[in-house]
């Protein structure tokens, strides 16, 4: 039987891979995919905690409702973020973040 620690390790590795995508990649679309990976890692640990912390013999559904909200907000975030990326591409003709340094101090 997998224990809670198994799920938390997988969730942590997934989060660090998302973090690696954000820190190491230079394409703004891949950075955005890394953000999605990190959100999903948080979802995995929330669902794992919900299943291992039973309430009257049932999983703790508050956590799963929370995951539902996270997925909804992430979907809205993806739509807005991709629209911003398209607007940025129209203005600068690039998705490489080193060419998008006009806000850099």
């Amino acid at each position: 039987m997998p224990t809670l620690a198994h799920y938390l390790i997988v969730s942590g590795l997934l989060f660090s891979l998302g973090l690696a995508a954000v820190l190491l990649r230079r394409n703004i679309l891949i950075i955005f995919m890394g953000l999605e990976l990190m959100l999903n890692a948080a979802n995995l640990s929330l669902v794992a905690f919900s299943r291992f912390n039973l309430l009257d013999g049932l999983p703790n559904y508050n956590a799963q409702v929370f995951v539902f909200f996270i997925i909804t907000v992430a979907a809205a975030e993806v739509a807005v973020g991709l629209a911003i990326i398209v607007a940025l591409f129209r203005a600068k003709q690039t998705t490489h973040i080193e060419d998008l340094a006009s806000l850099k101090f």
């Binding site: 997998p2 997988v10 997934l14 679309l29 995919m33 999605e36 909200f69 997925i71 909804t72 998705t95």
Partner: protein, 166 residues
């Protein structure tokens, strides 16, 4: 059996997540992200969270990734040339990620409370009904707020995508 399935899906998820980070072509990255989300949905099912698994497939692997692929093809990123990456940025990024993994594994290994087997459920759960009850009884106001958020996001996307931004 459960452990074997867990490892299969966990490895599937992690291998495709590595693919997202290290594949050069954005389309291959997006396709591996789709497979990563499918593996994650299977992991949710091993945790008896059937509803979350299904909306993971529908919303993430379906809607969100179609949007990603659509944008990648719209922007036509084929012409992207490889550039020299600075060693310092890889070193710094690797240091942060490695430090995070090391800290996390130390914490998880050091807490015996986390090494518990999965407790048995009292009965066969009907988790869609349970999530529906929780959502509409205890979280009714946040649910309506999230509906407004989705509306605002839709309007925002339409405004952002217009040709001329005034």
């Amino acid at each position: 059996m459960q452990l074997a399935l867990f490892w299969i899906f966990a490895l599937l998820t992690l291998i495709f997540a590595v693919g997202v980070v290290f594949l050069r072509n954005p389309v291959s990255s997006a396709m591996s992200l789709v497979m990563c989300f499918v593996g994650l949905a299977a992991l949710f099912v091993t945790l008896d969270a059937f509803f979350i698994g299904v909306i993971q497939i529908l919303v993430y692997a379906g809607a969100v990734m179609v949007l990603f692929l659509f944008i990648i093809m719209l922007l036509d990123l084929r012409t992207e040339r490889t550039r020299t990456v600075r060693l310092s940025s890889w070193l710094g990024g690797g240091l942060v990620v490695g430090g995070f993994v090391a800290a996390l594994s130390k914490v998880v290994a050091g807490l015996p409370a986390l090494h518990v087997a999965k407790p048995d459920l009292a009965a066969q759960v009907n988790d869609v009904a349970e999530i529906g009850f929780t959502l509409f009884r205890n979280y009714n106001l946040p649910f309506q707020i999230i509906a407004v958020l989705l509306l605002v996001a839709t309007v925002g996307v339409v405004v952002l995508s217009r040709k001329e931004l005034k």
